[in-house]
């Protein structure tokens, strides 16, 4: 099949269907509602479950239930709804269940507006709920990746029995680009070693996040941390652009990284050795890649639609406070000239 013109939010559902996703639970919220609409169009026809829940909390708890039954479950929302889901995400992480949540970030705080922003960085990457846990966070920057990363998120969620978040924004959700459909569809099996299916094979399984014994809860926490360490070792992903001889490195993800990439080309034309470091995973954050560049003497500029949330991680990885920031938030995209001014200042 030739590539089809598809919107980012639709690509999420295409990826989810190919990934064997069984269930979708959602609540209307702009700019993520099209994921709900597409799920309602396709899921029932393909024999899968779709519910528009009565609230964001209800939706995430339906996710918790279906995930506990071993199914592949998807939820989607945007900033205010993600905040409401945090309690459920913490429980899902604590109970070590797999699920995928797509966050089409909008401008905040509070109701904010429906323009794009990347300010859900902290509540996604730093785990916005209670307790010591982490969600796996993937950061697409194209319609193709909205599909592919949704599939990848299911792989990782099941590999580690952990929530995985696809962190996008209003522009990625709504823009239309050619999409090559996945070549193969996943046919999932229920893993009876942990899922609860209401039959004798899974009778011994218990889904819970409670442990009143302090020693046991401590052990469980250490086990979770060991899992996050394995995720850091095995799943960290990033991609570079013109980094070979770069002296100034823009660090950027999602829709901002596409603007940053254009800025790299323009800076090169002006004779400045700029490059782009683009994290594909935000948790785990690609620290080693940045550290290596830092040791080679590169200087960094974080380009993000939030108030330096990611810059904190870049600073930590680079081992220096001296990381520039090009930021814009409130519903507008970063302008090319903002980035160029900063590059010239650093160069």
């Amino acid at each position: 099949m030739p590539a089809q013109l598809v919107a980012g939010n639709s690509a999420v559902i295409i990826g989810a269907m190919y990934a064997g996703c069984d269930c979708f639970f959602g609540y209307p919220i702009t700019p993520a509602s099209e994921i709900l609409h597409e799920a309602s169009r396709f899921f029932p026809r393909a024999g899968r479950k779709f519910v528009q829940a009565e609230s964001e909390e209800a939706a995430i708890n339906m996710v918790y239930g279906a995930a506990g039954a071993g199914h592949r479950v998807l939820a989607a929302s945007s900033g205010p709804g993600m905040s409401l889901k945090q309690e459920g995400i913490s429980y899902i992480a604590g109970a070590e269940l797999p699920c995928v949540i797509v966050d089409i970030c909008r401008a905040g705080p509070g109701l904010g507006n429906i323009g794009p922003e990347q300010s859900d960085y902290n509540q996604a990457v730093k785990s916005g709920g209670h307790g010591c846990y982490n969600s796996i966070v993937l950061a697409p920057n194209s319609v193709q990746e909205m599909c592919d990363f949704t599939m990848k998120a299911f792989d990782l969620a099941f590999k580690y029995r952990n929530p995985a978040i696809v962190l996008a924004d209003g522009v990625l959700g709504h823009m239309v680009e050619p999409l090559n459909f996945p070549e193969e569809a996943v046919v999932p099996n229920i893993d009876t070693s942990w899922a609860v299916s209401g039959n004798s094979a899974t009778r011994h399984n218990l889904v819970t996040s409670i442990d009143l014994d302090f020693e046991e809860m401590e052990k469980h926490n250490l086990k979770l941390q060991a899992k996050y360490d394995r995720i850091k070792q095995n799943e960290t992903a990033w991609t570079g652009y013109r980094l070979e001889d770069a002296e100034i490195v823009l660090v950027s993800y999602g829709i901002s990284s596409r603007i940053a990439r254009s800025a790299v080309d323009r800076a090169r034309r002006e004779g400045m050795k700029a490059g782009l470091f683009r994290p594909l995973t935000l948790f785990p954050f690609p620290e080693a890649g940045i550290r290596e560049l830092s040791e080679k003497g590169c200087r960094f500029i974080s380009v993000e639609m939030s108030n330096g949330m990611m810059r904190e991680d870049v600073r930590r990885a680079a081992g220096t406070e001296d990381v520039g920031l090009v930021a814009r938030y409130g519903g507008n995209l970063i302008r090319m000239d903002q980035i160029m001014d900063k590059i010239r200042e650093v160069a």
Binding site: P28, T30, L36, Q52, S55, E56, L111
Partner: protein, 284 residues
């Protein structure tokens, strides 16, 4: 005070023909009237949730609080408890109060807190462009129900009756005189007052024709009778396209209100510093 004095400078972004205009106009007249009758508009606080309805607080030059989706009533409860002398009027939508914030609606009625809730019940999520809500009729085809919803709708007046609300009424946005009468009664009522307003969304669920044919005003009903109110509320379940739709006041009774009976109300005029000392010394 002239109702015009309550207009704000904000540009109105509701669709032409939206039922919200009637609610805006009715509440403006009622607030102006009340202002002349000894309830100064300075003592009124409007609270809205999130949805098309919520913009109403932008269009009224009255103290107001634009709250969170579903959380209109907890915010209103906080305001009322902090200052029981205020008249607190909530505007909420069917998605706002019956879906995301249903628990708060039931608890506001259960506590019988003295606030008014005006429900802009258009039976569709308008701001997010057309998904079904808890009061959409079965078979409703919206953006998230392309095959029609199979869920049965909720009956808000029946729910409020069961939950303990002490004033329950229904209005319709074609019928501004009745709306004004109900809003005024509800605001003056001591206790939790609930007005379900059939508010037509012309863009995503235009029910004008159906409502014009089917609505009628209930008269001479015994509004102190729970059973009679229940019967009226149940005579239309938001699902039957043939049933006639009663409008008007269904129920009104006197009962202790939360803001007057909750612990601490009686001592709010007491010197709190000395009271703290007294209480702490009693502990030692």
């Amino acid at each position: 005070m002239n109702p015009k004095d309550l207009a704000s400078y904000a540009t109105n972004t509701w669709c032409p023909g939206c039922g919200n205009f009637s609610i805006l106009s009715a509440i403006r007249s009622v607030l102006a009237q009340l202002d002349q009758e000894g309830y100064p508009v300075e003592d009124v606080v409007l609270v809205s949730g999130i949805g098309c309805h919520a913009k109403i607080v932008d269009y009224l030059n009255v103290n107001s609080f634009y709250s969170i989706h579903g959380r209109t009533l907890p915010v209103a409860t906080g305001i009322k408890l902090a200052n029981p002398d205020l008249k607190v009027i909530c505007f909420s939508g069917d998605g706002d109060s019956l879906a995301e914030g249903l628990d708060h609606l039931i608890f506001a009625a259960k506590r019988n807190i003295d606030v008014t809730l005006i429900l802009h019940d258009n039976r569709v999520y308008g701001l997010t462009t057309g998904q079904f809500t808890p009061t959409s009729p079965p078979g409703f085809k919206g953006k998230s129900t392309p095959l029609g919803t199979e869920e049965l709708p909720m009956n808000p007046p029946e729910l409020m009756l069961a939950s303990g609300a002490t004033y329950i009424a229904r209005g319709y946005t074609h019928g501004i005189d009745l709306l004004q009468k109900l809003f005024k009664e509800a605001i003056l009522h001591q206790g939790f007052s609930f007005v379900d307003v059939l508010q037509v969304c012309v863009t995503f669920f235009n029910l004008y024709e159906s409502y014009n044919q089917r609505t009628y005003e209930v008269k001479d009903n015994d509004t102190s009778s729970f059973d009679e109110a229940l019967k009226i509320a149940r005579s239309w379940n938001y699902d039957d396209h043939e049933a006639r739709i009663p409008l008007g006041k269904f129920y009104q009774v006197d009962a202790p209100t939360f803001d007057r009976t909750f612990p601490g109300f009686e001592i709010r005029d007491v010197d709190r510093d000395s009271r703290i000392k007294e209480v702490l010394e009693g502990l030692i």
